[in-house]
Protein backbone atom coordinates (compact mmCIF):
# COMPACT_ATOMS: atom_id res chain seq x y z
CA UNK A 1 0.00 0.00 0.00
CA UNK A 2 1.62 3.20 -1.05
CA UNK A 3 -0.03 6.38 -1.97
CA UNK A 4 1.69 9.63 -2.80
CA UNK A 5 -0.03 12.96 -2.45
CA UNK A 6 1.49 16.25 -3.54
CA UNK A 7 -0.03 19.33 -2.00
CA UNK A 8 0.59 22.82 -3.36
CA UNK A 9 4.16 22.06 -4.40
CA UNK A 10 6.10 25.11 -5.51
CA UNK A 11 9.69 25.34 -6.58
CA UNK A 12 11.81 28.29 -7.59
CA UNK A 13 15.42 28.40 -8.68
CA UNK A 14 16.37 31.92 -7.77
CA UNK A 15 13.78 34.12 -9.42
CA UNK A 16 12.64 31.49 -11.87
CA UNK A 17 9.53 29.66 -10.76
CA UNK A 18 9.63 26.17 -12.26
CA UNK A 19 6.66 24.67 -10.40
CA UNK A 20 3.58 26.69 -9.58
CA UNK A 21 1.28 25.03 -7.08
CA UNK A 22 1.21 21.42 -8.14
CA UNK A 23 -1.52 19.25 -6.65
CA UNK A 24 -1.45 15.58 -7.54
CA UNK A 25 -2.68 12.35 -6.03
CA UNK A 26 -0.98 9.14 -7.05
CA UNK A 27 -2.94 6.07 -6.11
CA UNK A 28 -1.61 2.76 -4.92
CA UNK A 29 -0.21 0.44 -7.67
CA UNK A 30 -0.75 3.13 -10.27
CA UNK A 31 1.62 3.92 -13.14
CA UNK A 32 1.59 7.67 -13.56
CA UNK A 33 3.41 9.29 -16.45
CA UNK A 34 4.48 12.93 -16.22
CA UNK A 35 4.80 14.26 -19.72
CA UNK A 36 5.56 17.69 -21.13
CA UNK A 37 8.05 19.63 -23.21
CA UNK A 38 11.56 20.10 -21.82
CA UNK A 39 11.70 22.68 -19.10
CA UNK A 40 8.12 22.13 -18.01
CA UNK A 41 9.18 21.05 -14.52
CA UNK A 42 8.39 17.36 -14.74
CA UNK A 43 11.86 16.18 -13.77
CA UNK A 44 12.02 18.71 -10.96
CA UNK A 45 8.74 17.38 -9.62
CA UNK A 46 10.09 13.84 -9.71
CA UNK A 47 13.24 14.92 -7.91
CA UNK A 48 11.15 16.62 -5.26
CA UNK A 49 9.28 13.36 -4.69
CA UNK A 50 12.62 11.52 -4.46
CA UNK A 51 13.99 14.10 -2.05
CA UNK A 52 16.88 15.11 -4.28
CA UNK A 53 15.44 18.58 -4.57
CA UNK A 54 13.74 20.54 -1.84
CA UNK A 55 10.37 22.11 -2.66
CA UNK A 56 10.15 25.85 -1.98
CA UNK A 57 6.70 25.26 -0.51
CA UNK A 58 4.20 22.45 -0.24
CA UNK A 59 3.90 18.94 1.10
CA UNK A 60 4.96 15.55 -0.22
CA UNK A 61 2.83 13.00 1.56
CA UNK A 62 3.80 9.36 1.23
CA UNK A 63 1.43 6.99 3.02
CA UNK A 64 -0.03 9.70 5.23
CA UNK A 65 3.36 11.04 6.30
CA UNK A 66 4.70 14.37 5.16
CA UNK A 67 8.23 13.59 3.99
CA UNK A 68 9.09 17.07 2.70
CA UNK A 69 11.89 17.42 5.28
CA UNK A 70 13.21 13.91 4.99
CA UNK A 71 16.37 12.83 3.20
CA UNK A 72 16.08 10.51 0.20
CA UNK A 73 17.45 7.64 2.26
CA UNK A 74 14.57 7.91 4.70
CA UNK A 75 11.89 7.86 2.00
CA UNK A 76 12.45 4.32 0.72
CA UNK A 77 12.05 5.29 -2.89
CA UNK A 78 13.82 3.69 -5.84
CA UNK A 79 14.83 5.72 -8.85
CA UNK A 80 16.04 4.91 -12.34
CA UNK A 81 18.08 7.74 -13.81
CA UNK A 82 18.25 8.91 -17.39
CA UNK A 83 22.00 8.34 -17.46
CA UNK A 84 21.54 5.12 -15.44
CA UNK A 85 24.07 6.38 -12.88
CA UNK A 86 25.62 2.95 -12.36
CA UNK A 87 28.59 2.88 -10.00
CA UNK A 88 31.52 2.40 -12.40
CA UNK A 89 33.72 0.76 -9.77
CA UNK A 90 31.22 -1.95 -8.90
CA UNK A 91 30.19 -5.08 -10.75
CA UNK A 92 26.61 -5.66 -11.83
CA UNK A 93 26.07 -7.74 -8.70
CA UNK A 94 27.51 -5.02 -6.44
CA UNK A 95 25.50 -2.34 -8.20
CA UNK A 96 22.24 -4.18 -7.69
CA UNK A 97 22.99 -5.17 -4.11
CA UNK A 98 24.31 -1.77 -3.01
CA UNK A 99 21.05 -0.37 -1.68
CA UNK A 100 20.30 -3.55 0.25
CA UNK A 101 23.75 -3.50 1.81
CA UNK A 102 23.26 0.12 2.84
CA UNK A 103 20.06 -0.79 4.63
CA UNK A 104 21.86 -3.67 6.38
CA UNK A 105 19.81 -6.52 4.94
CA UNK A 106 21.35 -9.91 5.88
CA UNK A 107 23.78 -11.22 3.26
CA UNK A 108 21.78 -14.35 2.41
CA UNK A 109 18.63 -12.32 1.77
CA UNK A 110 20.63 -9.87 -0.34
CA UNK A 111 21.94 -12.68 -2.47
CA UNK A 112 18.52 -14.20 -2.93
CA UNK A 113 16.92 -10.88 -3.91
CA UNK A 114 19.72 -9.86 -6.25
CA UNK A 115 19.58 -13.21 -8.05
CA UNK A 116 15.81 -12.98 -8.36
CA UNK A 117 15.96 -9.47 -9.79
CA UNK A 118 18.75 -10.43 -12.17
CA UNK A 119 16.75 -13.44 -13.30
CA UNK A 120 13.73 -11.27 -13.97
CA UNK A 121 15.79 -8.88 -16.10
CA UNK A 122 17.95 -11.47 -17.84
CA UNK A 123 21.17 -10.30 -16.22
CA UNK A 124 22.11 -13.57 -14.52
CA UNK A 125 25.17 -14.24 -16.66
CA UNK A 126 26.48 -10.68 -16.47
CA UNK A 127 26.82 -10.46 -12.69
CA UNK A 128 30.62 -10.09 -12.64
CA UNK A 129 30.85 -7.51 -15.38
CA UNK A 130 31.53 -3.84 -14.81
CA UNK A 131 29.21 -1.20 -16.28
CA UNK A 132 31.81 -0.22 -18.88
CA UNK A 133 31.66 -3.77 -20.26
CA UNK A 134 27.90 -3.62 -20.87
CA UNK A 135 25.84 -2.38 -23.79
CA UNK A 136 23.38 0.48 -23.39
CA UNK A 137 20.42 -1.84 -23.05
CA UNK A 138 22.18 -3.98 -20.46
CA UNK A 139 23.11 -0.91 -18.44
CA UNK A 140 19.52 0.15 -18.52
CA UNK A 141 18.51 -3.24 -17.14
CA UNK A 142 21.06 -3.00 -14.33
CA UNK A 143 19.63 0.40 -13.43
CA UNK A 144 16.21 -1.22 -13.31
CA UNK A 145 17.55 -4.12 -11.26
CA UNK A 146 19.00 -1.72 -8.75
CA UNK A 147 15.49 -0.35 -8.20
CA UNK A 148 13.73 -3.72 -8.36
CA UNK A 149 15.59 -5.45 -5.51
CA UNK A 150 14.53 -2.88 -3.01
CA UNK A 151 10.84 -3.32 -2.47
CA UNK A 152 10.36 0.46 -2.25
CA UNK A 153 7.15 2.43 -1.70
CA UNK A 154 7.43 3.79 -5.22
CA UNK A 155 9.53 3.54 -8.37
CA UNK A 156 10.58 6.77 -10.00
CA UNK A 157 11.75 6.74 -13.60
CA UNK A 158 13.48 9.83 -14.97
CA UNK A 159 13.37 9.44 -18.77
CA UNK A 160 15.05 6.05 -18.51
CA UNK A 161 14.53 5.12 -22.15
CA UNK A 162 15.74 8.26 -23.88
CA UNK A 163 19.32 7.00 -24.27
CA UNK A 164 18.31 3.77 -26.00
CA UNK A 165 17.93 3.25 -29.74
CA UNK A 166 14.42 3.23 -31.13
CA UNK A 167 13.94 -0.52 -31.30
CA UNK A 168 15.25 -1.20 -27.82
CA UNK A 169 13.15 1.63 -26.47
CA UNK A 170 9.95 0.05 -27.71
CA UNK A 171 11.02 -3.29 -26.24
CA UNK A 172 11.93 -1.84 -22.84
CA UNK A 173 8.70 0.11 -22.83
CA UNK A 174 6.61 -3.04 -22.86
CA UNK A 175 9.00 -4.77 -20.46
CA UNK A 176 8.61 -2.01 -17.91
CA UNK A 177 4.88 -2.20 -18.42
CA UNK A 178 4.95 -5.98 -17.84
CA UNK A 179 7.11 -5.60 -14.76
CA UNK A 180 4.70 -3.06 -13.41
CA UNK A 181 1.77 -5.38 -13.93
CA UNK A 182 3.68 -8.14 -12.16
CA UNK A 183 4.95 -6.08 -9.23
CA UNK A 184 1.96 -3.79 -8.83
CA UNK A 185 4.17 -1.08 -7.40
CA UNK A 186 3.28 2.58 -7.49
CA UNK A 187 5.38 4.09 -10.26
CA UNK A 188 6.02 7.58 -11.57
CA UNK A 189 7.52 7.82 -15.00
CA UNK A 190 8.85 11.03 -16.52
CA UNK A 191 9.16 11.41 -20.26
CA UNK A 192 8.95 14.03 -22.98
CA UNK A 193 7.78 11.42 -25.48
CA UNK A 194 4.02 11.40 -25.77
CA UNK A 195 3.99 7.93 -27.36
CA UNK A 196 5.78 6.58 -24.29
CA UNK A 197 3.24 8.35 -22.12
CA UNK A 198 0.25 7.00 -24.05
CA UNK A 199 1.51 3.42 -24.07
CA UNK A 200 2.72 3.12 -20.50
CA UNK A 201 0.45 5.17 -18.32
CA UNK A 202 -2.55 4.28 -16.24
CA UNK A 203 -2.97 7.99 -15.98
CA UNK A 204 -1.10 10.74 -17.77
CA UNK A 205 -0.21 14.07 -16.22
CA UNK A 206 0.42 16.65 -18.94
CA UNK A 207 2.60 19.48 -17.67
CA UNK A 208 3.60 22.78 -19.20
CA UNK A 209 5.44 25.78 -17.75
CA UNK A 210 5.29 24.48 -14.20
CA UNK A 211 1.59 23.72 -14.07
CA UNK A 212 -0.49 20.62 -14.67
CA UNK A 213 -2.58 21.12 -17.82
CA UNK A 214 -4.58 17.92 -17.58
CA UNK A 215 -4.69 14.62 -15.71
CA UNK A 216 -6.45 11.61 -17.14
CA UNK A 217 -6.38 8.20 -18.72
CA UNK A 218 -4.47 8.11 -22.01
CA UNK A 219 -7.51 7.87 -24.28
CA UNK A 220 -9.42 10.38 -22.22
CA UNK A 221 -6.64 12.88 -22.81
CA UNK A 222 -6.42 11.96 -26.46
CA UNK A 223 -10.15 12.24 -27.11
CA UNK A 224 -11.00 15.08 -24.80
CA UNK A 225 -8.04 17.39 -24.43
CA UNK A 226 -8.83 20.19 -22.05
CA UNK A 227 -7.02 22.91 -23.94
CA UNK A 228 -5.07 23.56 -27.09
CA UNK A 229 -1.73 22.82 -25.45
CA UNK A 230 -2.74 19.28 -24.48
CA UNK A 231 -4.42 18.82 -27.86
CA UNK A 232 -1.24 19.80 -29.67
CA UNK A 233 1.12 17.90 -27.40
CA UNK A 234 -0.63 14.54 -27.27
CA UNK A 235 -1.07 12.72 -30.55
CA UNK A 236 1.17 12.13 -33.52
CA UNK A 237 0.86 13.55 -36.09
CA UNK A 238 -0.15 16.68 -34.27
CA UNK A 239 -3.73 17.89 -34.22
CA UNK A 240 -4.50 20.69 -36.69
CA UNK A 241 -5.03 23.77 -34.55
CA UNK A 242 -6.58 26.78 -36.28
CA UNK A 243 -7.30 30.03 -34.45
CA UNK A 244 -10.46 31.87 -35.44
CA UNK A 245 -14.05 32.74 -34.66
CA UNK A 246 -17.20 30.58 -34.62
CA UNK A 247 -20.31 32.15 -36.17
CA UNK A 248 -23.35 29.90 -36.55
CA UNK A 249 -22.06 26.80 -38.31
CA UNK A 250 -19.20 28.59 -39.89
CA UNK A 251 -15.72 28.75 -38.38
CA UNK A 252 -13.92 31.81 -39.64
CA UNK A 253 -10.15 31.48 -39.58
CA UNK A 254 -7.97 34.46 -38.74
CA UNK A 255 -6.49 34.50 -42.21
CA UNK A 256 -9.82 34.80 -44.03
CA UNK A 257 -10.60 31.17 -44.82
CA UNK A 258 -13.64 29.50 -43.36
CA UNK A 259 -14.79 26.00 -42.56
CA UNK A 260 -18.47 25.13 -42.76
CA UNK A 261 -19.71 22.34 -40.55
CA UNK A 262 -22.90 20.25 -40.80
CA UNK A 263 -23.61 20.67 -37.15
CA UNK A 264 -21.90 22.35 -34.25
CA UNK A 265 -22.08 22.43 -30.47
CA UNK A 266 -24.32 25.44 -29.68
CA UNK A 267 -22.07 26.42 -26.76
CA UNK A 268 -19.35 27.39 -29.20
CA UNK A 269 -21.48 29.89 -31.08
CA UNK A 270 -20.12 33.41 -31.39
CA UNK A 271 -16.91 32.58 -29.62
CA UNK A 272 -13.29 33.36 -30.32
CA UNK A 273 -11.01 30.36 -29.98
CA UNK A 274 -8.97 27.58 -31.51
CA UNK A 275 -10.52 24.99 -33.72
CA UNK A 276 -8.92 21.52 -33.53
CA UNK A 277 -9.18 18.53 -35.86
CA UNK A 278 -7.05 15.41 -35.58
CA UNK A 279 -5.46 14.44 -38.91
CA UNK A 280 -7.34 11.12 -38.89
CA UNK A 281 -10.68 12.94 -38.55
CA UNK A 282 -10.26 14.62 -41.92
CA UNK A 283 -11.72 12.31 -44.52
CA UNK A 284 -10.99 12.51 -48.23
CA UNK A 285 -14.21 12.36 -50.23
CA UNK A 286 -14.97 11.83 -53.91
CA UNK A 287 -16.31 14.72 -56.00
CA UNK A 288 -19.73 13.09 -56.01
CA UNK A 289 -19.89 12.88 -52.23
CA UNK A 290 -18.55 16.38 -52.00
CA UNK A 291 -21.65 17.85 -53.54
CA UNK A 292 -23.81 16.46 -50.73
CA UNK A 293 -21.88 17.73 -47.76
CA UNK A 294 -19.66 20.57 -46.58
CA UNK A 295 -16.06 20.02 -47.66
CA UNK A 296 -12.74 21.77 -47.73
CA UNK A 297 -10.48 22.05 -50.75
CA UNK A 298 -6.89 21.13 -49.96
CA UNK A 299 -3.91 21.48 -52.27
CA UNK A 300 -1.49 18.64 -51.56
CA UNK A 301 2.12 19.67 -50.84
CA UNK A 302 3.85 16.64 -49.36
CA UNK A 303 2.82 12.98 -49.24
CA UNK A 304 4.51 10.65 -46.73
CA UNK A 305 3.98 6.89 -46.83
CA UNK A 306 4.58 4.97 -43.63
CA UNK A 307 3.27 1.69 -45.08
CA UNK A 308 0.11 1.27 -43.09
CA UNK A 309 -0.92 4.88 -43.44
CA UNK A 310 -0.34 7.87 -45.65
CA UNK A 311 0.29 11.30 -44.24
CA UNK A 312 -0.69 14.25 -46.39
CA UNK A 313 0.43 17.81 -45.79
CA UNK A 314 -1.44 20.38 -47.82
CA UNK A 315 -2.66 23.95 -47.98
CA UNK A 316 -6.21 24.86 -47.15
CA UNK A 317 -6.18 28.39 -48.46
CA UNK A 318 -3.28 29.88 -46.60
CA UNK A 319 -3.51 27.42 -43.70
CA UNK A 320 -1.32 24.34 -43.57
CA UNK A 321 -3.18 21.17 -42.72
CA UNK A 322 -2.21 17.59 -42.10
CA UNK A 323 -4.37 14.58 -42.73
CA UNK A 324 -3.92 10.89 -42.17
CA UNK A 325 -5.53 8.21 -44.31
CA UNK A 326 -5.11 4.54 -44.95
CA UNK A 327 -2.31 3.80 -47.35
CA UNK A 328 -3.16 5.67 -50.54
CA UNK A 329 -0.86 5.70 -53.53
CA UNK A 330 -3.03 7.73 -55.85
CA UNK A 331 -2.58 11.11 -54.22
CA UNK A 332 0.37 13.09 -55.51
CA UNK A 333 1.89 16.39 -54.59
CA UNK A 334 0.05 19.16 -56.46
CA UNK A 335 -3.32 17.38 -56.47
CA UNK A 336 -6.39 19.11 -55.20
CA UNK A 337 -8.43 16.94 -52.87
CA UNK A 338 -11.76 17.48 -51.17
CA UNK A 339 -11.85 16.79 -47.46
CA UNK A 340 -14.78 16.30 -45.13
CA UNK A 341 -14.54 17.25 -41.47
CA UNK A 342 -16.12 14.71 -39.13
CA UNK A 343 -18.38 17.04 -37.12
CA UNK A 344 -18.46 14.73 -34.07
CA UNK A 345 -14.70 14.76 -33.76
CA UNK A 346 -13.95 18.47 -33.88
CA UNK A 347 -12.59 20.28 -30.85
CA UNK A 348 -12.97 23.87 -29.88
CA UNK A 349 -10.73 25.53 -27.33
CA UNK A 350 -11.50 28.90 -25.90
CA UNK A 351 -7.95 29.62 -24.71
Amino acid sequence: MSEIILKKIRKSFGKVEVLKEIDLEIRDTEMIVLVGPSGCGKSTLLRIIAGLEEATAGEVIINNTNVADKNPKDRNIAMVFQTYALYPHMTVYQNISFALKMSKVPVSTVDEKVRAAAEMLGLSNLMDRYPRQLSGGQRQRVAMGRALVRDPVAFLFDEPLSNLDAKLRVQMRSEIRLLHQKLKATSIFVTHDQVEAMTMADRIVVMNNGIIEQIGKPLEIYNKPKNSFVAGFIGSPTMNLLPGHMIDRRFKLENGNHIDLDKVNPDWNNKQGIFGIRPEDLVIVSDQEASETETLEVKVKVVEHTGLETLIYGDFGRTEMCLLTKSNEKIKSGDIIRVKVNPDKVHFFED
Binding site: G51, N71, P72, K73, F81, A85
Partner: protein
Protein backbone atom coordinates in the same frame (compact mmCIF):
# COMPACT_ATOMS: atom_id res chain seq x y z
CA UNK B 1 56.78 9.32 -38.02
CA UNK B 2 59.95 11.08 -36.99
CA UNK B 3 59.79 13.28 -40.05
CA UNK B 4 56.24 14.26 -39.52
CA UNK B 5 56.79 15.24 -35.90
CA UNK B 6 60.35 16.53 -36.12
CA UNK B 7 59.27 19.93 -34.84
CA UNK B 8 58.26 18.16 -31.65
CA UNK B 9 60.85 15.43 -31.66
CA UNK B 10 64.07 17.45 -31.81
CA UNK B 11 63.12 19.99 -29.14
CA UNK B 12 62.17 17.03 -26.93
CA UNK B 13 65.53 15.39 -27.51
CA UNK B 14 67.24 18.66 -26.69
CA UNK B 15 65.16 19.01 -23.55
CA UNK B 16 65.89 15.44 -22.51
CA UNK B 17 69.63 16.12 -22.87
CA UNK B 18 69.35 19.29 -20.80
CA UNK B 19 67.59 17.29 -18.06
CA UNK B 20 69.53 14.04 -18.19
CA UNK B 21 73.06 15.30 -18.75
CA UNK B 22 73.46 17.04 -15.35
CA UNK B 23 71.85 14.07 -13.65
CA UNK B 24 74.30 11.68 -15.29
CA UNK B 25 77.12 14.02 -14.37
CA UNK B 26 76.01 14.00 -10.71
CA UNK B 27 75.55 10.24 -10.81
CA UNK B 28 79.08 9.91 -12.20
CA UNK B 29 80.46 12.30 -9.60
CA UNK B 30 78.95 10.15 -6.86
CA UNK B 31 81.35 7.38 -7.83
CA UNK B 32 84.49 9.52 -8.20
CA UNK B 33 87.24 10.24 -5.71
CA UNK B 34 87.50 13.87 -4.61
CA UNK B 35 90.75 14.21 -6.55
CA UNK B 36 89.11 12.97 -9.76
CA UNK B 37 86.26 15.43 -9.27
CA UNK B 38 88.60 18.37 -8.75
CA UNK B 39 90.69 17.37 -11.77
CA UNK B 40 87.52 17.14 -13.87
CA UNK B 41 88.33 13.63 -15.04
CA UNK B 42 85.87 12.09 -17.42
CA UNK B 43 87.44 8.63 -17.44
CA UNK B 44 87.71 7.37 -13.86
CA UNK B 45 87.71 4.25 -11.73
CA UNK B 46 84.42 4.06 -9.87
CA UNK B 47 84.71 3.88 -6.09
CA UNK B 48 82.12 3.60 -3.32
CA UNK B 49 83.96 5.79 -0.84
CA UNK B 50 81.42 8.59 -1.10
CA UNK B 51 78.57 6.29 -0.18
CA UNK B 52 80.65 4.81 2.64
CA UNK B 53 81.17 8.32 3.91
CA UNK B 54 77.39 8.87 3.92
CA UNK B 55 76.42 5.71 5.71
CA UNK B 56 79.49 4.32 7.45
CA UNK B 57 81.52 7.16 8.83
CA UNK B 58 81.44 8.16 12.48
CA UNK B 59 79.58 11.43 11.97
CA UNK B 60 77.22 9.97 9.32
CA UNK B 61 73.59 11.06 9.76
CA UNK B 62 72.37 10.19 6.32
CA UNK B 63 70.28 7.14 7.28
CA UNK B 64 68.59 9.23 9.93
CA UNK B 65 68.03 12.01 7.37
CA UNK B 66 66.45 9.56 4.96
CA UNK B 67 64.18 8.37 7.75
CA UNK B 68 63.18 11.96 8.59
CA UNK B 69 62.49 12.73 4.96
CA UNK B 70 60.38 9.61 4.56
CA UNK B 71 58.30 10.19 7.67
CA UNK B 72 57.74 13.84 6.77
CA UNK B 73 56.92 13.24 3.11
CA UNK B 74 54.59 10.30 3.78
CA UNK B 75 52.77 12.00 6.65
CA UNK B 76 52.32 15.35 4.96
CA UNK B 77 51.18 13.66 1.75
CA UNK B 78 48.63 11.61 3.66
CA UNK B 79 47.39 14.71 5.48
CA UNK B 80 47.12 16.70 2.26
CA UNK B 81 45.18 13.91 0.53
CA UNK B 82 42.72 13.43 3.38
CA UNK B 83 42.05 17.13 3.90
CA UNK B 84 42.03 18.05 0.21
CA UNK B 85 39.69 15.22 -0.81
CA UNK B 86 37.22 15.85 1.97
CA UNK B 87 37.34 19.60 1.37
CA UNK B 88 36.99 19.25 -2.39
CA UNK B 89 34.01 16.93 -1.97
CA UNK B 90 32.37 19.36 0.42
CA UNK B 91 32.95 22.34 -1.82
CA UNK B 92 32.08 20.71 -5.13
CA UNK B 93 29.27 18.38 -4.26
CA UNK B 94 27.44 19.41 -1.09
CA UNK B 95 25.68 22.43 -2.57
CA UNK B 96 27.64 25.08 -0.76
CA UNK B 97 26.75 28.64 -1.70
CA UNK B 98 28.56 29.74 -4.88
CA UNK B 99 30.18 32.78 -3.33
CA UNK B 100 31.60 30.67 -0.50
CA UNK B 101 33.19 28.23 -2.93
CA UNK B 102 34.64 31.06 -4.99
CA UNK B 103 36.06 32.81 -1.94
CA UNK B 104 37.73 29.59 -0.76
CA UNK B 105 39.24 28.78 -4.14
CA UNK B 106 40.40 32.35 -4.67
CA UNK B 107 42.00 32.40 -1.23
CA UNK B 108 43.65 29.06 -1.94
CA UNK B 109 44.99 30.39 -5.22
CA UNK B 110 46.38 33.52 -3.61
CA UNK B 111 47.99 31.47 -0.86
CA UNK B 112 49.51 29.15 -3.45
CA UNK B 113 51.05 32.08 -5.31
CA UNK B 114 52.72 33.55 -2.23
CA UNK B 115 56.35 32.40 -2.02
CA UNK B 116 56.87 30.32 1.15
CA UNK B 117 59.82 32.48 2.11
CA UNK B 118 57.40 35.28 2.98
CA UNK B 119 55.96 33.41 5.94
CA UNK B 120 58.73 31.01 6.82
CA UNK B 121 60.14 33.48 9.33
CA UNK B 122 56.85 33.67 11.13
CA UNK B 123 56.60 29.89 11.13
CA UNK B 124 60.01 29.67 12.77
CA UNK B 125 58.89 31.98 15.58
CA UNK B 126 55.55 30.20 15.95
CA UNK B 127 57.15 26.75 16.02
CA UNK B 128 59.70 27.92 18.55
CA UNK B 129 57.01 29.53 20.71
CA UNK B 130 54.80 26.45 20.95
CA UNK B 131 57.73 24.07 21.27
CA UNK B 132 57.50 22.49 17.87
CA UNK B 133 60.88 23.71 16.67
CA UNK B 134 63.21 20.91 15.72
CA UNK B 135 60.41 18.35 15.45
CA UNK B 136 59.38 16.41 12.39
CA UNK B 137 55.82 17.39 13.18
CA UNK B 138 56.57 21.06 12.51
CA UNK B 139 57.91 20.23 9.06
CA UNK B 140 54.91 17.96 8.38
CA UNK B 141 52.57 20.84 9.24
CA UNK B 142 54.59 23.20 7.07
CA UNK B 143 54.58 20.91 4.06
CA UNK B 144 50.90 20.16 4.49
CA UNK B 145 50.11 23.87 4.56
CA UNK B 146 52.21 24.62 1.51
CA UNK B 147 50.94 21.70 -0.57
CA UNK B 148 47.31 21.83 0.44
CA UNK B 149 46.28 24.44 -2.17
CA UNK B 150 47.69 22.35 -5.00
CA UNK B 151 46.11 19.22 -3.53
CA UNK B 152 42.76 20.93 -3.20
CA UNK B 153 42.81 22.23 -6.77
CA UNK B 154 43.75 18.86 -8.17
CA UNK B 155 41.24 16.88 -6.09
CA UNK B 156 38.50 19.38 -6.86
CA UNK B 157 39.10 18.81 -10.56
CA UNK B 158 38.97 15.05 -10.14
CA UNK B 159 35.84 15.12 -8.01
CA UNK B 160 34.21 17.48 -10.46
CA UNK B 161 34.53 14.78 -13.09
CA UNK B 162 32.30 12.41 -11.13
CA UNK B 163 28.76 12.85 -12.47
CA UNK B 164 26.27 14.29 -9.98
CA UNK B 165 23.76 11.57 -10.84
CA UNK B 166 26.03 8.98 -9.22
CA UNK B 167 25.83 10.78 -5.92
CA UNK B 168 22.09 11.18 -6.30
CA UNK B 169 21.77 7.48 -7.04
CA UNK B 170 23.76 6.75 -3.90
CA UNK B 171 21.56 9.12 -1.95
CA UNK B 172 18.43 7.35 -3.17
CA UNK B 173 20.10 4.01 -2.43
CA UNK B 174 20.30 5.04 1.21
CA UNK B 175 23.70 6.65 1.70
CA UNK B 176 24.37 9.63 3.92
CA UNK B 177 27.12 12.08 2.96
CA UNK B 178 29.81 10.18 4.83
CA UNK B 179 28.90 6.94 3.09
CA UNK B 180 28.73 8.67 -0.30
CA UNK B 181 32.24 9.91 0.35
CA UNK B 182 33.69 6.59 1.41
CA UNK B 183 31.79 4.24 -0.90
CA UNK B 184 31.45 6.25 -4.08
CA UNK B 185 33.78 9.26 -4.15
CA UNK B 186 36.98 7.74 -2.79
CA UNK B 187 36.95 4.58 -4.96
CA UNK B 188 36.20 6.61 -8.06
CA UNK B 189 38.80 9.26 -7.40
CA UNK B 190 41.61 6.75 -6.74
CA UNK B 191 43.62 7.68 -9.89
CA UNK B 192 43.38 11.29 -8.76
CA UNK B 193 44.56 10.37 -5.28
CA UNK B 194 47.55 8.54 -6.72
CA UNK B 195 48.63 11.34 -9.03
CA UNK B 196 48.08 14.06 -6.46
CA UNK B 197 49.85 11.92 -3.88
CA UNK B 198 52.93 11.43 -6.06
CA UNK B 199 53.16 15.13 -6.87
CA UNK B 200 52.76 16.22 -3.26
CA UNK B 201 55.20 13.56 -2.05
CA UNK B 202 57.87 14.76 -4.46
CA UNK B 203 57.32 18.40 -3.50
CA UNK B 204 57.67 17.51 0.15
CA UNK B 205 60.67 15.27 -0.47
CA UNK B 206 62.45 18.03 -2.39
CA UNK B 207 61.64 20.87 -0.02
CA UNK B 208 64.65 22.67 1.36
CA UNK B 209 63.41 25.93 2.79
CA UNK B 210 60.88 24.74 5.36
CA UNK B 211 63.04 21.88 6.54
CA UNK B 212 66.09 24.11 6.82
CA UNK B 213 64.23 26.65 8.94
CA UNK B 214 62.37 24.33 11.27
CA UNK B 215 64.93 21.59 11.93
CA UNK B 216 68.39 21.03 13.32
CA UNK B 217 70.71 18.09 12.89
CA UNK B 218 68.45 15.54 14.58
CA UNK B 219 65.37 16.19 12.48
CA UNK B 220 66.90 17.47 9.25
CA UNK B 221 65.79 16.07 5.92
CA UNK B 222 67.94 14.84 3.06
CA UNK B 223 68.11 18.13 1.08
CA UNK B 224 69.19 19.97 4.22
CA UNK B 225 71.70 17.29 5.02
CA UNK B 226 73.19 17.48 1.52
CA UNK B 227 73.65 21.21 1.92
CA UNK B 228 75.73 20.68 5.04
CA UNK B 229 78.41 18.97 2.95
CA UNK B 230 79.36 22.39 1.67
CA UNK B 231 81.33 23.73 4.60
CA UNK B 232 83.57 26.65 5.11
CA UNK B 233 86.90 24.89 4.54
CA UNK B 234 85.84 21.93 2.45
CA UNK B 235 83.14 21.20 -0.06
CA UNK B 236 82.59 17.45 -0.16
CA UNK B 237 81.44 17.22 -3.75
CA UNK B 238 81.52 13.43 -3.76
CA UNK B 239 79.31 13.05 -0.71
CA UNK B 240 76.93 15.68 -2.02
CA UNK B 241 76.63 13.89 -5.34
CA UNK B 242 76.13 10.53 -3.62
CA UNK B 243 73.43 11.99 -1.35
CA UNK B 244 71.64 13.62 -4.27
CA UNK B 245 71.87 10.44 -6.27
CA UNK B 246 70.27 8.40 -3.50
CA UNK B 247 67.62 10.99 -2.79
CA UNK B 248 66.36 10.86 -6.38
CA UNK B 249 65.58 7.15 -6.08
CA UNK B 250 62.26 7.28 -4.15
CA UNK B 251 60.92 10.04 -6.38
CA UNK B 252 62.02 8.16 -9.46
CA UNK B 253 60.33 4.94 -8.33
CA UNK B 254 57.12 6.78 -7.46
CA UNK B 255 57.14 8.58 -10.79
CA UNK B 256 57.52 5.33 -12.68
CA UNK B 257 54.67 3.73 -10.75
CA UNK B 258 52.31 6.68 -10.95
CA UNK B 259 53.39 7.93 -14.39
CA UNK B 260 50.14 7.45 -16.25
CA UNK B 261 48.14 8.95 -13.40
CA UNK B 262 50.41 11.96 -13.08
CA UNK B 263 50.07 12.95 -16.71
CA UNK B 264 46.32 12.65 -16.27
CA UNK B 265 46.49 14.64 -13.04
CA UNK B 266 48.48 17.51 -14.49
CA UNK B 267 46.25 17.65 -17.54
CA UNK B 268 42.98 17.32 -15.66
CA UNK B 269 40.93 20.42 -16.23
CA UNK B 270 42.97 21.40 -19.24
CA UNK B 271 40.44 20.27 -21.77
CA UNK B 272 37.30 20.31 -19.73
Amino acid sequence: MRNRHSFVFYPLVAYAIVVIAPFLWIAGTAFKRQIDILQGKIIFTPVLSNFRQLFDSREATFLNDLYNSSVIAVSSTALVLVIATAAAFTLQRLSMPKWFINVIFLWVLIFYMLPPITFIGAWFIMADYIGLFNTRFAVILGHTTINLPLGLWLMATFINEIPKELLEAARVDGCNNRQIFSKVIVPLVKPGLISTGVIVFIFSWNDFLVALTLTTKATQTVPVSIATFAQEYEIRYGAMAAGSFISTIPALVLLLIGQKYIVKGLLAGAVK
